[in-house]
């Protein structure tokens, strides 16, 4: 083992390889092993355009405290090979403190050395040759265990548990890990992890998409109809198995239009239901979402955003579906839009969205993104949904008016099967009874009702999260929260007081709560990952902002980095 003093900072390890080198698998195993050893962590991945055998990059950040995003730089790059490494030069920031470990064969692209990173070559492939079934990526895991101070046994047991099926014996795994770990001793001055704090409570290993699905289940979803689409399909796939186990059902529909309409059918039948998609699929669901608004049927769409417009960049993240989510429906169609602000928050945010949809008899769009959804985190056990809002169902009555005007705007909803409450869910404008009507007074009454039920509802504190205090406020949402918060922390370290407000409830707007949260703010920096500054335009349209507003918006496919935000905080413009 090396003797360097561990730093208190998180460290970021990049694992890169191509054509089946197993970089992603290695990254997951590193995350898991570090988690087992008591660290928190986050792993994201980046891949080439090939279905298989493409170049791949796993970025793993580990720390003794919770990790929500990547930092700006990479401490350690482990290159299993250099094929097409060029693709990743934009994503791996190496500086003079960075260490690159690579196989003896091949050379890094010059860009990766430009920052002055130290390059150490090791015969990874060579080392694996001697051990039956071993591969360079397993040697690499041993090496990382050695470098980062993870016990060899722990690493070996994770590897054996995952890869055992693929014909590797425990002894061979142990030998491969040991060989790698041994090789680590030859590397002077490696980046080291601060020791983990003692673990209190349960730690979970979960992806954002899994978290969203679990949140939905916790909130009572028992039916889903979906159509596969990147980067949302893994959510559906996880959900399919669990719904089956829970006595519910997930159906792969013929298309997205069918999915959302099936969801409306199930929900009309009284079963909380959802669908899962990404931009192009959401575009196809727009018409039916309008029906859900008018006919007042609860429904949830989890939209895992990817690079747009059109088919765009399906494997990468962007926050550019905000417009379609909040404004996309034709006519005046108020509805709910909720955005998780971290990988872990995918769980409570989605659960909340389901509850709100049920309670308000309205469609809710959950705006997650590829970065959150496909990231995997080691975290504390996520909290259960805070509230338990449910659908208000109708009881027998003399005359049942499905769309009765009530104080809350929410009318009791009859569930098919209950005698005496038969009604027709109606997409035409209608009277309180649900009979089609073209009358001005019916239209106005129902428009008011559909708006007011959303506006009058008490969303409590969950509408936003605030961190820090200061005259300078960052306004942001979703996956931009992590870099914004990290930048704010760095600014604070430099003496600038910064408050970060993240909106979780994007629609309906919350002008009063917003004004309170922003009270006293001297200037606002809006941070978002979109080319046209959609979030800023949305804030401007519906909220009062201070006179001094600066906007940092940048499109994907690269995630927003803390340094970019910090630069805008320090050089205000």
């Amino acid at each position: 083992m090396n003797q360097t003093i561990p730093t208190a900072e998180p460290i970021t390890v990049a694992l890169m390889g191509s054509g089946g080198a197993g970089a992603i698998t290695a990254g997951s195993l590193l995350l898991e092993a570090a988690g087992k050893a008591g660290w928190y962590g986050l792993m994201t991945r980046s891949v080439g355009p090939q279905i298989r055998g493409g170049e791949a990059l796993a970025m793993v950040r580990l720390a003794p405290t919770p990790v929500n995003g990547h930092g700006d730089r990479c401490d350690l790059l482990l290159a299993l090979d250099w094929e097409n490494a060029d693709r990743f030069t934009d994503e791996i920031f190496l500086d003079a403190d960075s260490l690159i470990i690579a196989d003896t064969v091949g050379e890094p692209p010059p860009a990766m050395l430009a920052g002055g990173a130290r390059l150490v070559k090791l015969p990874l492939a060579q080392l694996s040759k001697g051990i039956p079934g071993a591969r360079p990526n397993i040697i690499a895991l041993g090496l990382l265990a050695g470098l980062l101070g993870l016990p060899n046994e722990l690493m070996a047991s994770r590897v054996a548990a995952t890869l055992g099926r693929k014909g590797l014996t425990s002894a061979d795994v142990a030998a491969a890990i040991a060989a790698g770990s041994e090789a680590a001793t030859a590397i002077p001055d490696p980046p080291r992890l601060a020791s983990p704090a003692p673990v209190n409570g349960q730690r979970w290993n979960i992806s954002g998409n899994e978290a969203a699905a679990l949140g939905a289940l916790q909130a009572g979803v028992r039916f889903a109809a979906v159509y596969p689409i990147t980067p949302a399909s893994d959510l559906s796939e996880w959900l399919a198995v669990r719904l089956q186990q829970l006595g519910g059902h997930l159906l792969q529909a013929e298309d997205e239009i069918a999915s959302i309409n099936m969801v409306l059918g199930a929900s009309y039948g009284g079963v909380p239901a959802l669908t899962v998609t990404s931009g192009p699929g959401l575009a196809l669901m727009i018409e039916a979402l309008g029906l859900a608004v008018t006919a007042e049927i609860p429904a949830v769409v989890i939209n895992v955003m990817r690079g747009g417009p059109s088919t765009g960049i399906p494997t990468k993240s962007e926050q550019a579906d905000l417009n379609i989510a909040v404004y996309g429906l034709h006519g005046d169609a108020p509805h709910l839009v909720v955005a998780p602000l971290s990988v872990v928050d995918c769980l409570p945010a989605t659960a909340w969205a389901v509850q709100l949809a049920e309670a308000l008899q309205c469609p809710a769009i959950v705006l997650s993104d590829q970065l959150l959804g496909q990231a995997r985190t080691i975290c504390d056990r996520p909290s259960q949904p805070a509230t338990a809002e449910k659908r208000l169902t109708a009881a027998a009555a003399d005359r049942y008016d499905r769309y009765a005007l009530t104080a809350s705007g929410v009318s009791p909803m009859a569930i098919p099967g209950v005698p005496g409450l038969q009604y027709t869910a109606e997409g035409l404008e209608h009277s309180v009874h649900g009979t089609p009507s073209t009358r001005a007074r019916d239209h106005l009454a129902q428009l008011n009702k559909r708006r007011d039920k959303l506006l009058q509802f008490d969303y409590g504190a969950a509408w936003a999260e605030s961190e820090g205090e200061g005259d300078t406020v960052i306004l942001t949402w979703g996956s931009s929260t992590a870099p914004a918060r990290e930048a704010a922390a760095q600014a604070r370290a430099q003496g600038l007081a910064v408050k970060v407000i993240t909106l979780r409830l994007l629609s309906p707007t919350q002008p009063t709560a917003f004004a309170a949260a922003l009270a006293g703010a001297g200037r606002v920096l809006v941070v978002e990952q979109s080319h046209s500054a959609q979030f800023h335009a949305y804030l401007r349209a519906h909220y009062d902002l201070p006179a001094l507003v600066s906007v940092f918006n940048r499109p994907g496919p690269l995630p927003i980095r803390p340094a970019e935000v910090l630069e805008r905080l320090l050089n205000w413009r």
Binding site: Q50, G53, E83, T315
Partner: protein
């Protein structure tokens, strides 16, 4: 199966056989480039170059006579494609040189079998001689490839295993 009866037809087949091999090897070389297997990319490029020489040779044999060109489905291969084309399903991005050379050997063997059958079936002696000669050459090619292959160890079972999952796109 009706057989080849004229020299013209034989040359047409030989030409198509070699040029389709060039196309397939180039295609496989590209696949390897895209899938980060540079060693194999080089190998397939090399093989395409070799086959291109064979194309030239057939063209030379034909001399000034324009080569007969048949509709793709009119060739009388004994196989689904021209015998020297690696069947589409046999590629893999984790191929090793050993595999590649084995595929190439199989190609040469199929080509040999094709020409041998033409030689066997024809009553025309000129045709027989030329087909036999071609079969001979293919045997030779196969032999050279076998020698080449002997430099590489046979890959262990599980060579095709990729620990990473395929990627979901679009």
């Amino acid at each position: 199966m009706n057989t080849i009866t004229t020299l013209e037809e034989l040359l047409a087949h030989a030409h198509a056989l070699e040029s389709e091999a060039v196309e397939r090897y180039e295609e496989m070389a590209e696949q390897m480039e895209v899938h980060n297997n540079p060693e194999l990319a080089e190998l397939f490029h090399k093989m395409a170059a070799v086959e291109r020489k064979h194309v030239d040779k057939v063209e030379h044999l034909a001399g000034d006579n324009p080569l007969l060109r048949l509709a793709p489905w009119e060739y009388r291969w004994q196989t689904q494609e021209a015998p020297e084309s690696v069947p589409v399903g046999h590629s893999h991005y984790r191929l090793t040189p050993y595999h590649a050379l084995s595929l190439m050997i199989a190609c040469e063997e199929r080509a040999q079998a094709f020409f041998a059958e033409v030689a066997r079936a024809t009553p025309d002696s000129t045709l027989r001689t030329m087909a036999a000669q071609m079969a001979e050459e293919e045997t030779h090619h196969a032999e050279l490839l076998r020698q080449w292959r002997s430099r590489y160890p046979e890959p262990e079972p599980g060579w095709e295993v990729d620990l990473d999952e395929p990627v979901s796109q679009e």
